[in-house]
Symmetry: C2
Subunit: 221 residues, 2 copies
DNA sequence: CGCATCTTTGAGGCGAATCAATCTAAGTGG
DNA sequence: CCACTTAGATTGATTCGCCTCAAAGATGCG
């Protein structure tokens, strides 16, 4: 099912994978077309992934199809590493996405033998937990505009505050991340635009410029 | 500020604390009156706690007072162990609560020297993450009755399916856990009672009997 | 017993969802 | 290159679920 271009040479490893496993891990690379599933909820967690380019969404579904996106993963991010043997959610490519893949077993073995590797694994899980805790506050207690403002600031921060921010995900994805509908997200963005907090860049609606980060931060509550 | 009754002898350690630290950790015990703060968001994470009896809520606040409860901790549960040096939320006693306390440093030192201790720490953080992931789905995508049903099933499971379930927390606490108002929680409980999913036990509204766990599970979606 | 707190229930309002139409951008094929 | 198609985004009208406000009832503590 999973076609992979095996990289025989040991590629340069950067970011979190490096921190986790030093230089020992041999990686393959693979490109997923947009909308493709990387792994499904309940599947065996055989591989660990790091994004080279593109974006990944991880989510859970209710039986009637309602979807909650846990997180978006951007270039450099590690994902799919579970403590248990099974994935607790589904991962899909938001856009065409290039990932570096290594076997979970391989990575864990490397980690076992490195003092700092193990600490990094804990740090990684802790970071995910911290994000989840903040996101629970958002989902449970923030209003729609506050949610959207928080989302924009999160993306802005994670993309290192570029002048033009490029969102790889659709309004529906944003909505499912924030516990809203796509229409509400669209309305909130329009409101923020009318209030001169941001403006859309050029024709596309997925490139935008944050004009007032302070104002957005205040809205975020 | 924190009055503690130091236990000189090494008390019997059970549950997760034991799994984490073996028999090495020396604990004190302390009782918090209901509503008392155990530690605050941003405070230094000096101690680690395990509940002997009672219940603890951990939460975050927005600037205008809106509250999101991350989790309730029940007897046997460990809480307050951070990977970083600082607590990421506030912990308060829901009712009069007896806790076993040990220093974070002390516990971490013990863990350092035990292979399985370290694994347990990771397991603990992972369990918290898993709970958070499920709770995000609940907060973002479930309706009020589904939320309340899920809450009841969670408490039922964690109390080992007693015939009469005793809830230590108020309707407001439940509401702040589920991202609702206390009135909505009350209405949902009344609805479930009218639908013969549960009944209240005796006079008090905090003791209830689950009459149809299957029905509740179906509602939970 | 009396008072404060918690819970239930009702009435009405509001914010976000739903339903629906239009508009835009990006492909697709002639 | 342009008509045609399709997916995505915006905007409007309306509905609905939950919140807010309010009052009364129940519980528990001093």
């Amino acid at each position: 099912m999973l076609i992979r271009t095996r990289t025989v040479s040991r590629p340069a490893i950067d970011g979190q994978l490096a921190a986790l496993a030093g230089e020992r891990v041999c990686c393959s690379e693979f490109t997923y077309r947009r909308g493709t599933e990387v792994f499904g909820e309940g599947e065996e967690a055989e591989y660990v992934y790091q994004i080279v380019s593109g974006a990944i969404r991880t989510y859970k579904l209710l039986c009637d199809g309602r979807r909650q996106i846990n997180s978006f993963h951007l270039p450099g991010d590690l994902f799919g590493l579970e403590n248990g043997a099974v994935h607790r959610f589904t991962a899909e490519a938001v856009v065409q996405t290039r990932v570096r893949i290594t076997s979970r077993r391989h990575l864990l073995d490397s980690i076992e033998h490195e003092e700092e590797g193990r600490a990094s694994l804990l740090t990684l899980v802790t970071r995910n937990l911290q994000h989840a805790e903040n996101h629970m506050l958002l989902l449970g207690r923030k209003r729609s505009v506050e949610k959207v403002a928080a989302f924009l600031l999160e993306m802005d921060r994670r993309q290192d505050h570029p002048y033009v921010m490029s969102l790889p995900m659709s309004r529906r994805d944003i909505a499912d991340y924030l516990g809203l509908t796509l229409e509400t997200v669209s309305r909130a963005l329009s409101t923020l635009r009318d209030d001169h907090m941001l403006r859309f860049d050029g024709q596309t609606q997925r490139k935008l410029v944050l004009l007032d980060r302070k104002g957005l931060a205040q809205l975020d509550a």
